[in-house]
Amino acid sequence: MSLLNTEYKEIAWQGLWKNNPGLVQILGLCPLLAVTSTITNALGLGLATMLVLIGSNVTVSLVRQWVPKEIRIPIFVMIIAAFVTCVQLLMNAFTYGLYQSLGIFLPLIVTNCTIIGRAEAYASKNPVKKAFFDGLMMGLGFALLLLVLGGIREILGQGTLFDGAQLLLGDWASSLKIEVFHFDNKFLLAILPPGAFFTLGFLIAGKNYIDAKVATRKPKVEEKTIERMRVNFDAQ
């Protein structure tokens, strides 16, 4: 049981930090950079990605036994595309308000490399439960990164947080808006795509810095002596 637990912990750690799809694998850059101008947008895309990621991971994991190796990619693509389209249609039909604000992100997700990446790298090799958890954690990692990125850009760009949250969450959310500080002039670069590149760059640098710090603080692993192999002719 504890073995299982550590395994899930590892999956979570991978998704949230060590192998974070945005920060480390640098996947899904296009939506990541285009949409994170505010924290609200980031939240929307993050939720949508997480949802699709979980769904596609579970689906791919379910069908993985029947998928021959040679045609796995087309099949995964089809599954993801079908999944996204269905979600989009359903949202359009039943939660129109949400679709209005999230809908534009959904088509972006079809081409998000994170999703096909996880399908190929993880879901196609692991049971449903794990694939689900991996999707959840990777999605969460991605969403968290988006939130941080959106937050920073929004603060830098217009000095607010959760501006326009009502568009995503309903009218009650308009009270969420926080004016961190006020300036007359927006810092447009932060809102524009270059600002996203800069911010992401600094975030990645920060992560590497933290990792390096942690690595130096860790006590050196005890020295191993290697097993020197003899070139063995008889074994061949």
Binding site: I71, P74, T225, I226, M229, R230, V231, N232
Partner: protein, 206 residues
């Protein structure tokens, strides 16, 4: 109706492409792994086994299967860089546990101690030792890769690894290493005693 058409069209397309992929999978199947060959070509072929694999090829095979790329001590940083390049991964520092003093060396047999047991001959991966039973052995310095696999089997410990000396031929323009010394030129007989290293390479303009 439109759905039916969509299903038919997509189904048909997939039949075709599936067939194509199936054909391609059989037709273009790569026998063996060219990657291993490429990796093997990058390794220094000392066959020293310091990486934990019996020879360079097995290690190349292991790298292709995901083994760490930083285990080749004789290749050093250069080889790691090249492998990293080939594998598309980050360069890592040499794994300390595999790191030995990897200055180029050749083996040398102290001839008076050699008992002619041929054990080193059997250990040498590149047939660089000649000799016969009860005959004194010697090393073909040109062929020796400096792997030091012959050192351990020797029952009388008569094999030494000697670093390859620096000559004007293999000098690498390392001006910092030049020993500046002044010797009394007028009296060469005194030279030995006067061999004072002033050890002042100064601030060398490198």
């Amino acid at each position: 109706m439109s759905i039916l058409i969509a299903i038919l069209v997509l189904g048909g397309m997939c039949l075709f492409f599936g067939a194509l992929l199936g054909y391609a999978a059989v037709k273009f199947k790569v026998e063996g792994d060219p990657l291993v060959e490429q990796l093997d070509a990058l390794l220094p072929q000392t066959q020293c086994g310091q990486c934990g694999y019996p020879g360079c090829k097995p290690y190349a095979q292991a790298i292709a299967n995901g083994e760490a790329i930083n285990k080749c001590a004789p290749g050093g940083e250069d080889t790691i860089k090249k492998i990293a390049n080939l594998m598309g991964v980050d360069v890592q520092p040499l794994d300390e546990s595999h790191a030995q003093d990897n200055t180029p060396k050749v083996a040398f047999i102290i001839e008076e101690d050699c008992i002619g047991c041929t054990k080193c001959i059997q250990a040498c991966p590149v047939d660089a030792i000649i000799g016969a039973a009860k005959q004194m052995h010697t090393i073909i310095a040109d062929e020796c890769t400096g792997c030091d696999l012959c050192v351990a089997p020797c029952p009388v410990d008569c094999i030494k690894m000697i670093p390859i000396a620096q000559t004007t031929h293999n000098w690498q323009w390392d001006l910092n290493r030049i020993n500046v010394k002044t010797i009394d030129a007028d009296d060469y007989s005194n030279k030995q005693s006067n061999n004072v290293k002033t050890n002042t390479t100064e601030e060398v303009n490198v």
